[in-house]
């Protein structure tokens, strides 16, 4: 092989994005360990899925606390998870074409699910349906 050293390295791309992404993993992870686990424990352990129905959710979302809680959880978990998926795509998808497809799909899914998730939490109005009975 003919080798010659030292040419100027290509300038750093993306500024500090990778750094903040990495840092966000840690911060959101720490937040999630409380929020996600608490969520799972409440929803799937203390209550089991047998007890969860429309009424249960409606009751829960009567309290603004739970709406804010779920909103935060949604954003932290999604951004954390999507960031992870982004890194994985970077590692496994190489062909330029496929990369574009994969990233586009990822960002689309991200936006779409954040929007519909947020919409569900914000716009949900149990009183819009007449069968309302609160309590479990």
């Amino acid at each position: 092989m003919l080798s010659r050293g030292g040419g100027r390295a290509r300038p750093a791309r993306g500024g500090g994005f990778e750094l903040y992404s990495w840092y966000f993993f840690r911060i959101s992870g720490l937040v999630l360990i409380f929020m996600a686990i608490f969520h799972v424990v409440v929803m799937h352990v203390v209550n089991t899925v047998d007890e969860i129905d429309f009424a249960f959710v409606a009751d829960r979302w009567n309290s603004p606390f739970w709406r804010v809680y779920d909103m935060l959880l949604l954003f932290f978990a999604m951004l954390h998870g999507v960031n992870g998926a982004r890194v994985s795509i970077d590692d496994y998808v190489h062909r330029a074409g496929w990369r574009i497809v994969a990233y586009s799909a990822l960002w689309l899914i991200t936006v779409l699910f954040l929007v519909i998730g947020a919409m569900a939490i914000v716009t949900f109005d149990p009183n819009a349906f007449d069968t309302v009975t609160a309590g479990s």
């Binding site: 050293g5 030292g6 300038p11 750093a12 993306g14 500090g16 990778e18 750094l19 590692d91």
Partner: protein
Amino acid sequence: MQVNLKILRYNPEIDSKAHFETYTVEAEPTDRVLDALNEVKWTRDGTLTYRRSCAHGVCGSDAMRINGRNALACKLLIQDVGDSMTIEPLMGFRVIKDLVIDMDQFWENYKKIKPFLINDDQAPAGRERLQSQEEREVFDDTTKCIMCAACTTACPITWTNDKWVGPAAIVAAHRFIYDSRDQGQDERLNILNDRSGVWRCRTVFNCTDACPRDIKVTRAIEQVKRTMLYDNM
């Protein structure tokens, strides 16, 4: 004792794909795996191809995958691997022939991080640049690197992501970033802050396990990450 070597062979001039070939040779338990390979080459099959030179773990030529893990053939004794072993080339780079891989990309990654002292001040005339023993100690571990590529090719990120600079290049950068005489820290940290830089490391530790010089590779990478983080925060 009799030793069985199952070696992944590939000769681009003959083979369309790699295949295993098994050889049985006589060896002492205290012989090196390299001795067994030499025995195969010198008495059984002269076409067996691998790199080697120093035969005692200091030149970095003969890193290969022995029983599924990266090691230097000259630093691993038969008694430590047993009487049957599978030998394959390092993963992640193109195989040129048998156990010889194409290291071009590896050296490019090395060069990318500017592996040389950067200090634009006039060196003092007639004496050395001073450095305390403590300052010297900080980067001692990473000066031991022999560029064998065992770490980089053991890293799962290398296998799938060809842009990743890899642990060996970061080890080389570490050696300069923490050298009190060096002034190129910013440049090097900038280069490693890239998408292909340190953040791609997922603390898999295969590199540290593979390093024949017992360099704490992951530790070095983590130190670089922290320096970058604290500098930017």
